[in-house]
Symmetry: C2
Amino acid sequence: MAVYTHLGAEDLAALIIHFDVGELTSAKGIAEGVSNSNWLIETTGKDGTPARFILTMYEFRIEVTDLPFFLSLLDHLAAKGCPVPRTIHDRGGALYRMIGDKAVALIEFLPGVSVSHPTPDQARAVGRALAQMHMASADFAGSRENAMGLAESRRLAEACGHGGMTQIDPALADLVDRELPLLEAAWPAALPRAVIHADLFPDNVLMLGSTVTGLIDFYFACTDIAAYDIAVTHAAWCFDAQGGNFNLAISAALLEGYEALRPLSAAERTALPVLARAAALRFTMSRAFDWLNTPADALVVRKSPMAFARRLQFYADPVNAGIFASS
Amino acid sequence: MAVYTHLGAEDLAALIIHFDVGELTSAKGIAEGVSNSNWLIETTGKDGTPARFILTMYEFRIEVTDLPFFLSLLDHLAAKGCPVPRTIHDRGGALYRMIGDKAVALIEFLPGVSVSHPTPDQARAVGRALAQMHMASADFAGSRENAMGLAESRRLAEACGHGGMTQIDPALADLVDRELPLLEAAWPAALPRAVIHADLFPDNVLMLGSTVTGLIDFYFACTDIAAYDIAVTHAAWCFDAQGGNFNLAISAALLEGYEALRPLSAAERTALPVLARAAALRFTMSRAFDWLNTPADALVVRKSPMAFARRLQFYADPVNAGIFASS
C-alpha cells in the first residue's frame, strides 16, 4: 500500500485538462493498491458540480495490453447496473493515457467503506453482487486468461522451492506437495464460465451499511469458472485474518446471496470444495513467493502465506466437507 | 508516507459517532505524514450536506501532551482568517479522542494541491500566508519549545558520529563540525518571536492557482524566532529537490510576500543568513539521523541528507550573502 510515483499539482493539472471534468481542486495520494499508485482527486466538475475521481497509475504487474479489458469491463458492468466504478474516458474517447512511460486511468469515485468484520447481511449482499457481476458479464466481448490459476500456483511453488517453503513454515512444503497434484487431477474444467473478479477481498468491496456500493480493483479479473470466484470470495470473507475461526453464518449468507440471483448447478456445488482449496492455494503461493522475494526495503507490508495455508487445511479437512452442501 | 494502522469501517463508524458530522460514507487512507496515519473521510454532514475531513492518528514522535497546543493553534489561526484547517471538536468539546492507546483528531478538509515547481506568484502568496500566521499567533495563549532547534542539531550530530556522517558523505562531518559551533556563537537570540510552523515545505501548503488555500501539518509548530520560519521556508522552496539550482526569483518573491504584511527589522534581515544555515543544518541532521537509523524494512522512503547539506553550503558561501540583502 503506497504511492510509488510523485505527481505534483502541475503534473495532475496537465493530465486533467485532457478530460471533461473541470479543474483540479484537490489530490491526495491514497494508500491502496500494491501494483499501482492511486490518488483521490477532486475537480470543479464538468457542469460546475464538484466531482471526485480515483486516478490510477499502473506501476507493476499490470500489462498495458490488459488495460482495455479491465477498463471496458468496468464500463460494461456499470452500464448493466452493477455497483462498479465507470472509467472516465478522455476527450478523445481513450480509456487511459500515458504519463511518461506509465499508463494512467481516471475512474469514477464511489462512496462506501470496507468492512473488517462483516455481518451475515453484508456477506449476503456481497454474494448477490458477485452473482450480478457474473450474469452481467455474459455478453461482455472481452476475455482474459486467468494468470493466477493452478498452473501459476505450481510455477510459484517451484520458484519458492522446498527450502523456501520450509523457511516460511516447516509444514508448508508437504501441504503444497499434497494439494497441487490432487487439485490438478480434480479440476472441474467443464463448469460454466464468466468474467470473474478473482480477488474480491473485503478491501475490494465498498459498503454503506448492508448495501454494496462498489466492487473495485478489477486488476485480477479474467475469464474463468464462475464458481471459482465464489470460492475466492469465500476464502477471503469467511475466516479471520490469520486464517482461523471459520464463520459458518458468513459462509451460508454469502452462498445464499449468490444463489438468490444465480442458483448453482449440482456440478458447481459439488466442485466448490476443490475450487476453495485451489483458491486458498493460489493466495498461499503468491504470498509465499512475495514473502521470499520482497526486498526488505520495499514499501509494502508482506502478507502471511500461512493465513491462507490454514484455510487450505480447513477446506481439505473432510470434517468440513458439509459447509458447501446444498442449503 | 504510509498508513500504519488499519482502521476498518466499524472502527471508523464507532469513532465518528462521537462527532456531530453525520454518518460515515467514505474513508481512504492517504499517503501523507511520516509520524501519523491519515484518512480522508466523508460523512453525510451535520446538516445533510456531505462533508469531508482529515482523520489523523498520531503514531510516532508526537507527544499527546503537545496535541492541545497543535490542535488549538489550528482553531486560533482559522478564527483569525488564516488558511488553516480547524479542529473538529467532539460532542464533549474535546480536541482529540483515543482509539486504544493512540490519539486521533478530526480536522477540517481544505481544497488545494501542493505544487512541485512554484512560480514567483505562488512563492509570494506563501510568504504572505506565513507572515499572516506569525501575526495571528501573537495573542495565542499556548507555547511550545522548538524541539528541533540548534541544540537538537548538535545532539543528532553526536548521535550520528563522524563515522556515520562520513558513511553518508565524506564531506559531511567537516561541514557539520564547522557550522555547528559557528551557528551556536552567532545565534541571534533577541529577535522577535512568534508561533512558527517550522516545516513549511511545498507538501505542507495547499494552493489553487496562486492562492494559498491551506497551511497544513503543524506538528513541528513551536514558539521561536519568527525570521527562523522564513529561513526554513526559504530553504524548503528556493532550491530543487537535490539542493542545487537556487532560484533567485522564488527567493525574492517569498521575502517580498512576507514583508508585504510584516516588514522585517534590520536585525531580522541581518540574521537571515545565519538562520538559513541553521535551518539547512536542522534538516541535514534529522535526515542524516533517519538515514542511519531507519530500519531497512520501514514503510518510509529515506530522504537524502545531502540535499540539505548542499543548501547549507550555499547559504554559508559568502558569494551568496546578497540574497537576503534588503530589496
